[in-house]
């Protein structure tokens, strides 16, 4: 029991947000009379929040590096608009259009990263300017109107589902199978991790506790995929999200680049004197943010099936809020990809849940604002206590 308590205490901020998320879900599940966790609504939740979650991952790196990016909503909009012009107006092949759009995002990120990292204009100012510039360019390029519709292959990115190879009746068997495959991979991973830990003579979780942990995660995982399977299966965009989450978790926890981002955010001077190429790292972080903003813009355009001038407004605020609710530090150097995802889901479930029980958009904004404030206050409080 002692080690369970220790485990809990060491990960309190991580777990507290998971607990909060579960609490919020239970609350809305009850108040919405069971609609929240219906297969259709779960699928909707994923589709509705995908573009914010994509942004939140990039934003997390930005915030960990002790920077900020206010321009992502505008960047998403301008890239969506240009994609519309290329694919709809000029009949460009969809794949080529997507690749060019992502490159454009990288270019925009490089532009802003240049000012921030090398000219040392504060990120707040640079990206505030970017927010205006790229919103303006969106209006210019769309001439104030929307372009629609995208070819169906483009729409599939957001609205499609992976095909069922087994032709299940009322149950998407491929989805269940994928759930089982992921379960097997996860269990293998845990076993391998434990083996290396023992090889290196490190402390390991007691066997009983590990089994409980694995069981819990396996149950939640399979339940989740089963619920999806009852409806239409796995949305394409969920595949995209899972790949991105895996990729960025890997980058942040396993690579030297990830370490450099955290070190830079924790203490830039010390990082520089330890050989971290700080300017280069900041630049890369913004290039990456640009690419993800572009991707987010594409996913949003595909979901809307049109490129509109007002796309992406307030996205930046949702993405930033997701990171902070997920435990990222306002002083840089602290934050996790999973935290940002959970933070994004907290916001997403609240949006969805409040709509389900008929809370007006006016009150939704107010409540979301309060949640952000309380989450960050909690973070500041727990840190001042541990220091």
């Amino acid at each position: 029991m002692g080690s369970l308590y220790k485990l809990f205490k060491e990960n309190i901020t991580q777990y507290s947000m998971v607990i909060a998320l579960v609490g919020i879900m239970i609350f809305f599940q009850i108040t919405s009379h069971g609609i929240l966790l219906k297969p259709l609504n779960i699928t909707n939740l994923i589709l509705q929040n995908s573009y914010i979650l994509i942004l939140a991952m990039g934003m997390l790196l930005v915030i960990v590096a002790f920077q900020i990016d206010l321009s992502v909503g505008s960047v998403a909009a301008v890239v969506g608009a240009l994609a519309g012009i290329m694919i709809i107006n000029n009949h460009m092949p969809v794949a080529l259009g997507i690749i060019i759009s992502l490159l454009l995002g990288a270019l925009i990120g490089a532009f802003q990263g240049f000012w921030i990292a090398y000219v040392r204009i504060p990120a707040f100012i640079t990206t505030l300017a970017g927010m205006l510039i790229f919103r303006g360019l969106t209006y210019v390029s769309l001439k104030g109107t929307s372009i629609a519709p995208f070819p169906s292959s483009f729409q599939k990115m957001s609205t499609g589902f992976i095909p069922d190879f087994f032709n299940g009746q009322g149950l998407h068997i491929t989805t269940v199978v994928i759930g089982l495959i992921l379960t097997a991979l996860y269990v293998l991973y845990e076993i391998r991790k434990r083996r290396t830990q023992i090889k290196y003579d490190f402390e390991v979780l007691p066997k009983g506790l590990l089994v409980v942990k694995i069981l819990l995660i396996v149950i939640v995982l399979n339940l989740f995929f089963y619920v999806l399977a009852i409806y239409k299966g796995i949305p394409n965009v969920l595949v995209l999200l899972l790949v991105l989450i895996a990729f960025y978790t890997f980058i942040t926890t396993k690579t030297t680049l990830g370490r450099h981002i955290y070190a830079l955010g924790g203490n830039e001077k010390a990082a520089r004197l330890s050989g971290v190429k700080t300017q280069q790292v900041i630049f890369m972080v913004f290039v990456n943010m640009g690419i993800l903003a572009a991707l987010s813009g594409l996913v949003f355009a595909a979901r809307l099936n049109s490129a509109t001038p007002n796309a992406g407004s307030n996205f930046e605020l949702d993405a930033i809020a997701a990171c902070f609710i997920g435990g990222a530090s306002t002083a840089g150097g602290i934050g996790t990809i999973m935290g940002a995802i959970i933070g994004g889901l907290v916001m997403g479930v609240m949006n969805n849940g409040m709509s389900l029980i008929g809370v007006g958009i006016d009150w939704q904004q107010t409540i979301k604002g309060l949640v952000l404030l309380i989450a960050v206050a909690f973070d500041v409080y727990s840190k001042s206590k541990s220091a």
Binding site: T196, Q197, Y200, F202, K254, T255, T256, L257, G258, R259, H260, Y262, A263, G266, N267, K269, A270, A271, R272, L273, S274, G275, V276, K277, S329, A331, G333, I334, A387
Partner: protein, 511 residues
């Protein structure tokens, strides 16, 4: 006893692990200029912080009698209320406010919260006249030099009806002319009945102006000299400041010095902002394998600037000169190159420049050489734990484990983490900037032991330290630096505190 304005009796102040002051006594006569001298770390500033209430009553033991009344200051406001004003070494002026606004900051001439600017300006003009500063009250602090800023500080003190003025190194940053003006002003204030306590390293200045001199060493009062009765020379003061038992404070080392491993030739660097100022002026130094070389000098001598400019050009502009490692010229244009060429720089300020305080010990240790435990950019975290654990044991870092945050460690253990970080880069040359600043005696001994260990592995060590005994106790050779120049080089045998001080002071007088 009425001519004694201030008496501090048996003041003892301890920080966790260090006794900064032990039974210090200080008696200041009404209307005199009383100098307080001692080496860096002797306890001068700590004593003044006790007096002014920065360290509140209860955090030290002993008594303070001011004008024959027992004082128990809980904060600076209370001591200022009685007329004790301290002017710190780092000036506490707001650069983008005017002279008048600064003088009356926190003490505004106002009625019902509304500032009376006419009264403010009038009083400022009076005060500026008193200190002999010919500037408009509306001039911004940022637009006047350090010397004039010092005068504004004094004017600010005068605005508070000061009875006892404490000046902490007021002339350290001033040129000769400004210093002279300031000294004259202090003498002038004395004639107006204001008592001053002057902390200074410029001993020739002190021997001229002070009425009595109290010498502190290692947190204890050594003696108080009366300049009227005895003819006090600079040599006499230095003798009081130094001369301590060096036995057993430094672990013994068998030196086996090899060939030159590291050499800097004709090194010149300019200040990054005031680009005409040379921070390093034609410096030539070398370090042999298995040798500990020291650089002595006062604060601001350019030692840290030298080290940082060498270490991947991390400081300064228009850097010029040559660096040789094992006889081959290298161009260390960034920190990465410096590290790859076997150089390590243990920074002076471990909190600001050395550590990521929010990160754990493990992450700090591996940061400067992640490539050692990485394959194609992916960190092997198991290797990281093994290496960190080894270093933790080797350097005896006291912690709950390598996952403890470095921000929660004691100073000595933080310093060991910084050392671990650089040992992890497998350097050949280690530059250590104030390696034992602010850590207790026991931890110091451990750091010295680690240094000896490194020397045994034939590494070259360059120590920058403001504590002369440390340099004398640890080094095989000592360079003396001042104002960006190397003034001389002393072997362990010929070096003594007097000789080093003499070299510095002589140059100081010569300019």
């Amino acid at each position: 006893m009425s001519d004694i304005i201030l008496e501090m009796i048996n003041i003892t102040k301890t920080f966790p692990g260090v006794k900064a002051l032990s039974n210090v006594n200080l008696k200041v006569k009404q209307g005199e200029i009383h100098a307080l001298v001692g080496e860096n770390g002797a306890g001068k500033s700590t004593l003044m912080k006790v007096l002014s209430g920065v360290y509140p009553y209860g955090s030290y033991s002993g008594e303070i009698m001011f004008q024959n009344k027992l004082c128990e200051f809980k904060n600076i406001k209370q001591s200022e209320y009685l007329g004790i004003v301290i002017i710190h070494q780092e000036l506490a002026l707001i650069p983008f406010l005017s002279i008048a606004e600064n003088i009356f900051l926190g003490n505004e001439r106002s009625k019902h919260g509304i500032v009376d600017w006419n009264e403010t300006t009038k009083r400022t003009i009076e005060l500026l006249k008193k200190v002999g500063l010919n500037e408009s009250p509306k001039t911004l602090i940022a637009n006047i030099g350090v010397g004039k800023q010092q005068l504004v500080e004094i004017a600010k003190a005068l605005s508070k009806e000061v009875k006892l003025l404490i000046l902490d190194e007021p002339t350290a940053a001033l040129n000769e002319e400004d210093s002279q003006n300031l000294v004259d002003l202090i003498a002038e204030l004395k004639s107006q009945g204001i008592t001053s306590i002057l902390i200074s390293h410029k001993l020739n200045e002190i021997s001229k102006i002070a009425d009595s001199i109290t010498i502190l060493r290692d947190g204890a009062t050594i003696e108080t000299l009366d300049t009227k009765n005895d003819n006090i020379s600079v040599d006499r003061i230095i003798k009081g400041m130094v001369g301590r038992d060096l036995v057993h404070r430094y672990p013994p080392r068998e030196s086996d010095i090899g060939e030159i491993g590291f050499e800097v030739k004709d090194w010149t660097a300019y200040h990054p902002i005031s680009s005409e100022r040379k921070v390093c002026d034609n410096v030539n130094i070398n370090v042999r394998k298995g040798e500990v070389v020291g650089i002595a000098g006062l604060m601001g001598a350019g030692r840290t600037e030298l080290a940082m400019s060498i270490f991947g050009k991390s400081y300064g502009k228009r850097i010029n000169g040559e660096i040789y490692i094992d006889g081959k010229e290298v161009h260390l244009n960034n920190v990465n190159k410096a590290i790859k060429n076997g150089l390590a720089y243990v920074t002076e300020d471990r909190k600001e420049y050395g550590l990521i305080l929010i990160d754990h010990i493990k992450g700090n240790i591996s940061l400067a050489n992640l490539n050692r435990i990485s394959k194609s950019g992916i960190v092997n975290q198991n290797e990281e734990i093994v290496h960190s654990e080894n270093l933790r044991k080797k350097l005896n870092i006291k912690c709950s484990g390598i996952l403890q945050k470095t921000g929660n460690l004691s100073g000595g253990n933080q310093q060991k983490v910084v050392l671990s970080k650089w040992i992890f880069t497998e350097p050949e040359i280690l530059i250590m900037d104030e390696p034992t600043r602010g850590i207790d005696v026991g931890a110091k001994y451990e750091i010295y032991t680690i240094i000896n260990q490194l020397v045994k592995e034939k590494k070259g060590i360059l120590i920058i330290s403001s504590e002369l005994p440390e340099l004398l106790g640890m080094c095989d050779r000592i360079y003396v630096m001042n104002a960006g120049k190397i003034l001389g080089e002393l072997s362990a045998k010929e070096a003594s505190q007097e000789k080093i001080m003499e070299l510095i002071m002589k140059q100081g007088q010569g300019v």
